[in-house]
């Protein structure tokens, strides 16, 4: 407890050196402070409060230091409000307040005492502005104030943040902590931290030993230290050992960066598959060139937006509702398109192409008129944001993981429908031989409408997934129509497995090429490759065989 406060008080006025900062943090971390000091200095608190209404950010930084040092019980809520950007000051007397919207202007309350101060005009209060420097200072201060019972997760993050600032001075504290620490994951980081601190040691053997311990560590700051060591260390043997450790690290880094590229490729592929799979039904099975396919995706995305508007308090579940809703809405629009336009144009691909292209423009402009040309904001539920951290340099983003899983579910469900249900049987029958199917009593017109509705509904479902990745706006569909056709044609028309393989391989190929060719050239190369491939195998990766192929 006392250590904390003393450190605050001996702190130089200006910028603290990073070494000092690391030490002080360590002290804080290991003494498990509750941060409320016995000799709370109320003048520090008042001084800090007064500085908050200053315009200069460095003065506000000083204010935060003073506030924390004061140990006043209102500091934590005050800093939290400030960090959330909800702290204001009254222009007339610089009093720090919070505000609420009122009919005319704002209703304000004193931020410390909670005393109501009546209503003021819109221009009478001003925000206590914060910038990035202050924001990180606030986060740090709040975390420290909340440290209390010491959650191992917080300890670990704090240690990781310190890795680049450690010096030989930090060693005793680290070692002391190492003896009492219970949590395995924290111990792991502690060992690395100790080794990093030992790198500064004046004894050659200690440094060599530390290097051995650091071999294979993936923390970027460890790597940066080793790089400086290979150039600067006084001892040739140590330099050599550092180089050796670095080589091990580099090879592991390479391994993980390849894995990362693979993941990116698969996730891009899953997006391609989602966008293309509806088309694989309408184009692949029915042979309809539907240029409005992208707009059906867009309708699905807008359905998500509307669902979120309807249930603003349950964003977490909105996507679960949006998936069936988007399927129904896009499916119905699809059926309407089939009944209204396409059924008159069967067997005339060129006219179908033009008519559906026209439709796509109509749908786009309709969305512009109904929802405005501006992009709409679709929120990402909490459970979909963030990453699954595997190690310091390799982490998978959760939203992409969910989308890969979702894509596979959609694929296998669709596969099941086509192979195992009566509708699927009829769809396959009609697409293989319309006349024969009709002779067997299949209502081919009804099947056409349902098939098109199914394909369109799947497009809508893809729209829900895309709303989590990209803009929801009138142009959403255009961005995916070319890619979708590319995947279906490459995979082989009329083959769902082909679509899956084509989507994944195009995604991975694109991502493998991107680092050295750039995003633009990678796309071009993929297109060129597909053109060449189609020259060689006009029916794609998995051509339909037998009688069905002739139709």
């Amino acid at each position: 407890m006392a250590t904390t406060s003393t450190h605050y008080r001996t702190m130089p006025e200006g910028r603290r050196s990073t070494g000092w900062r690391a030490l002080w943090l360590l002290a804080l971390l290991f003494t498990v402070s509750t941060a409320s000091t016995a000799f709370a200095a109320s003048d520090d608190f008042e001084q800090g409060l007064a500085l908050l209404s200053e315009k200069s950010f460095s003065k506000k930084g000083r204010a935060i230091e003073l506030l924390v040092a004061s140990g006043h019980e209102q500091v934590l809520p005050l800093l939290q409000t400030m960090s959330a950007g909800e702290l204001y000051y009254r222009k007339s007397d610089d009093r720090i307040v919070t505000r609420r919207d009122a009919d005319t202007g704002y209703e304000i309350t004193d931020a410390v005492s909670g005393e109501a101060l009546g209503t003021v005009g819109r221009r009478d209060v001003k925000k206590v502005a914060i910038n990035n420097t202050l924001r990180s200072q606030l986060t740090q201060a709040i975390a420290e104030l909340q440290l209390g019972a010491a959650d191992p997760g917080i300890r670990k993050t704090a240690l990781e943040a310190m890795l680049s600032e450690l010096t030989a001075d930090s060693l005793p504290l680290l070692e002391k902590r190492r003896r009492t620490e219970q949590d395995d994951s924290v111990i792991e980081v502690l060992d690395i931290a100790i080794a990093v601190a030992q790198l500064e040691s004046s004894e050659r053997s200690v440094r060599l030993q530390a290097l051995q311990a650091l071999e294979g560590s993936l923390y970027p700051s460890v790597r940066n230290r080793l790089v400086t060591m290979t150039a600067n260390d006084a001892d040739a043997g140590v330099r050599k050992a550092a180089e050796k450790a670095l080589i091990t690290i580099e090879s592991r880094v390479n391994l993980f960066s390849n894995l990362e590229t693979l993941f990116f490729g698969v996730s891009l592929g899953s997006v391609l598959i989602l966008a293309a799979i509806g088309l694989a039904i309408t184009f692949g099975v029915m042979g309809v060139i539907n240029m409005a396919h992208g707009e059906l995706i867009m309708i699905g995305a807008y359905t998500t937006y509307v669902i979120q508007l309807l249930m603003p308090n349950a964003i977490e579940y909105s996507l679960l509702v949006a998936v069936p809703a988007a399927f129904i809405v896009s499916g119905l629009v699809g059926i309407a398109i089939e009944r209204g336009v396409i059924r008159f144009l069967y067997g005339r691909p060129l006219e179908t192409l033009l008519a559906t292209f026209g439709l796509s423009l109509v749908l786009q402009q309709a969305v512009r008129s109904i929802f405005s040309p501006l992009n709409r904001s679709v929120e990402t539920p909490q459970w979909m944001s963030g990453t699954w951290e595997i190690n310091a340099i390799f982490s998978l983003t959760l939203n992409r993981l969910y989308i890969i899983a979702f894509c596979l579910i959609v694929f296998f469900l669709l596969h099941l429908i086509l192979k195992r249900t009566r509708l699927g049987l009829e769809v396959r029958a009609v697409s293989q031989n319309r006349q024969m199917a009709r002779a067997m009593g299949v209502r081919s017109q009804w099947v056409d409408a349902l098939t098109f509705g199914l394909g369109s509904g799947i497009a809508g479902v893809a729209g829900v997934a895309l709303s989590q990745l990209t803009n929801v706006g009138p142009n959403l569909g255009q961005a995916y129509i070319i890619d979708s056709f590319m995947v279906v044609v490459f995979g082989g028309v009329g083959n769902l497995w082909g679509t899956l393989v084509a989507g994944l391989s195009l995604g991975v190929a694109n991502k493998v090429m991107e680092p050295w060719a750039g995003a633009v050239l990678a796309k071009i190369l993929v297109l060129v490759f597909i053109i060449l491939f189609i020259q060689k195998r006009p029916r794609g990766l998995f051509p339909q065989k037998g009688r069905a192929a002739e139709g």
């Binding site: 990035n132 904001s377 991107e514």
Partner: protein, 425 residues
């Protein structure tokens, strides 16, 4: 015979009414896309112009006449911009055009406005390297946006490694060329600059963000200078958030992200990232308050935001009005002479002056994105900065100046050779 007389009578009457109308009002052309890709940004500017014209009419119009907005829709189609510009001048007889957003649309309109010798007010930040006799650039040139932003990062945040990320077209390419030359001039090494271009509407940012993350983990403070265009920004920021890069680790300063773009997205992952503009809606001045109130009243929606290009149109329109008053006529040639040196108040508490190079003076503001989709100004230039038509950091243009006052009257005068290349732009 009777029929013919009647017909000619009607024709005469119609002609008379047409010329009456022409005499009664001063026509102002508004050339912004209302459909297609660019409708997202340009529709707002059309509304702004209509609002400004309505306000001017409430104050008694101009030269005793009413103003009339002639709105056309070039539908985000670049060649159509040129056609519609011609239609505005030749068919509708407008005296000035306010319009264009993308550089390519401006380049498409350029030959037409020069041939017909009218005036065009262009309200968007652009790459510079141009000064036409007929165009007035009320948006920012690179030295009014990009260079000060880089200075801010370098001096205030101590950034040493730079990622220049942009969409693959003329504005980012030119701006990044200027920035690269500028950074190298400041002693930044080649290996500390990473340049990356992506196609329009790029949505899969995983690898690029991972690269940025790797580039930024070398132990030096890193920042991204983004000239990524409109739509592609959202997935970019989302990916940054998802991969756990916050503004405190690697700040992104953007030149194309404004209030309007932010109003369409979930701003949580963007908080703390930066943008450089010459105006923010959050700027606290009387003039800005009035403008925002007028805008809300006109558009009938309290939630609509204002942004930098809107202010540019506000300034451009006020300047044109002043110039017409000064010249006593709306004749474009007279306005072109009269407008140089005209000063009008801007919305951030200063004055904008039209310089002889057809660019204006502007303050430069750096703002941090807040969770309500607004910007908090964290830095600004102490005074205003004059737009530089020809960048001082590109070898091809550092000797060029633009001065449209007599006797020089040249948009690209080479001070070394003492020659005007004769091109109009």
């Amino acid at each position: 015979m009777k029929m013919k007389q009647l017909a000619s009578g009607i024709a005469l009457a119609m002609m008379a009414s047409a010329s009456m109308a022409a005499d009664d009002t001063i026509k102002v052309g508004v050339l912004h896309s209302l459909s297609g890709t660019m409708a997202i940004s340009e529709t707002t500017l059309k509304d702004t112009m209509q609002m400004l014209i309505e306000e001017q009419n409430k104050q008694g119009g101009l030269l005793g006449k009413k103003l009339e907005a002639v709105v056309v829709d070039p539908a985000s189609n670049w060649p159509l911009f040129a056609e519609k510009a011609r239609e505005l001048v030749e068919k509708n007889g407008v005296d000035a055009i306010f319009g264009c957003w993308t550089s390519v649309s401006r380049k498409s309109v350029l030959p037409v406005v020069e041939e017909l010798d009218t005036v065009l007010f262009y309200p968007v930040q652009y790459e510079g390297e141009e000064s036409s006799k007929n165009v007035f650039y009320t948006g920012a040139a690179p030295n009014q946006q990009a260079i000060p932003a880089v200075d801010y990062l370098m001096n205030e945040l101590g950034v040493e490694r730079w990622v220049l990320a942009g969409t693959d077209y003329v504005y980012p390419r030119t701006t990044n060329k200027i920035l690269e030359a500028y950074l190298k001039g400041k002693g930044v090494a080649d290996k500390d600059i990473m340049i990356n271009y992506t196609p329009f509407g790029h949505s899969d940012w995983q690898s690029i963000v991972a690269d940025v993350k790797k580039f930024g983990s070398a132990g030096k403070k890193t920042a991204v200078v983004s000239t990524i265009n409109g739509d592609a920004n959202v997935p970019f920021y989302k990916e940054l958030g998802n991969q756990g890069i916050s503004a405190e680790d690697i700040p992104v300063v953007a030149f194309s992200v404004g209030e309007e773009e932010l109003s369409g997205i979930d701003t949580k992952p963007l908080v703390g990232h930066l943008a450089a503009w010459n105006y923010f809606m959050s700027v606290d001045t009387e003039a800005n308050d009035e403008f925002i109130q007028a805008w809300h009243a006109y558009i009938g929606d309290e939630k609509r935001v204002t942004n930098d290009p809107m202010e540019a149109h506000y300034i451009g329109f006020k300047m044109w009005v002043e110039a017409v008053k000064k010249a006593g006529t709306t004749d474009p040639a007279a306005v072109q002479d009269a407008i140089i040196g005209v000063s009008v108040p801007n919305l951030t508490g200063g004055y904008a002056t039209m310089a002889p190079n057809h660019h204006i003076t502007k303050p430069v503001l750096i703002g941090e994105i807040q969770d309500d989709g607004q910007f908090e100004v964290v830095w600004s230039t102490s005074g205003t900065v004059l737009g530089d038509a020809w960048s001082d950091f590109l070898p091809g243009s550092k000797d060029l100046i633009a001065d449209w006052r007599a006797p020089l009257s040249c948009g690209n005068y080479n001070v070394k050779t003492g020659k005007c290349s004769g091109q109009n732009f």
